[in-house]
């Protein structure tokens, strides 16, 4: 397991995605961790001090393992870079949105046309009733 700094980790992660385009998977694991052993943690808590927690991020392509710790201050920046990498790399997922929207739009249009036809019929029936009422006085 190779422990890297934030930016080298992101670079290595990008190269992992590049290598696994044809074959293989990329696993990314996120875990809440203080990066200290149980003994150290107990010592710190008994001393009355607060434990500092970070986010441990691990990545592997099945052969190579890399990891990094993201602290409270860095997490916004890391989050943004990580999101960029994923958006750029996850291109083989299907895009079904347009077809779904077209189907949904067609169904909605059909329903609207049916309701407008019904309303037109109602109006025709109402008009003669109104004329007769005004003619009386």
């Amino acid at each position: 397991m190779v422990r890297l700094q934030l930016d080298p980790f992101l670079n290595e992660l990008t190269s992992m995605f590049e290598h696994t385009t044809e074959k293989g998977s990329v696993w990314v694991t996120l875990k809440h961790s203080s990066d200290k052993s149980k003994v150290q943690r107990n010592k710190i808590t008994t001393a009355g001090k607060e434990l500092e927690y970070k986010c441990l991020v691990r990545a592997t392509d099945g052969k190579k393992n890399i990891s990094t710790l993201v602290g409270t201050k860095d997490h916004q920046r890391f989050q943004a870079s990580y999101a960029t990498i994923l958006k750029a790399r996850m291109t083989s997922l299907k895009k079904r949105e347009k077809k779904d929207k077209r189907k949904a739009a067609n169904v909605v249009d059909k329903k609207l046309s049916k309701t407008t036809k019904a309303m037109n019929v109602d109006k025709k029936q109402q008009v003669p009733v109104k004329r007769s009422s005004t003619a009386n006085p």
């Binding site: 074959k23 997490h75 994923l86 083989s92 997922l93």
Partner: protein, 102 residues
């Protein structure tokens, strides 16, 4: 393995699981470009929740979940995530205000 279909249920249960046992819960993502599949797993080694997809729209939802988990894990399980977007919104108006005064 428990595969959850509705996305919102998955997110809610994941956050609950993390808040219940922050020391043991981990969030795993597996992406296969060759198959075009994405699988998410959240487990505390007792209970396991999974979500699989091949849809690009779910990748966007996953990004939001990533943000939630990063915030929870980096800042602590008690952080208020309502929402991760809420924090961004409160930051922006302050900057705009300074600009207008100038």
């Amino acid at each position: 393995m428990v595969y959850i279909v509705p996305w919102d249920d998955f997110v809610e249960r994941c956050v609950q699981l993390f808040r219940a046992s922050p020391q043991n819960t981990r969030y795993v993502m597996k992406y296969r470009h060759s198959d075009g599949k994405l699988v998410l797993k959240v487990t505390d080694d007792k209970e396991c929740l999974k979500f699989k997809t091949d849809q690009a729209q779910d990748a966007k939802k996953m990004e939001k979940l990533n943000n939630i988990f990063f915030t929870l894990m980096a800042r602590g399980p008690e952080t208020d995530i309502t929402e991760v977007t809420g924090k961004e919104q409160t930051a922006q108006p302050a900057k705009r205000g300074r600009g207008r005064k100038q």
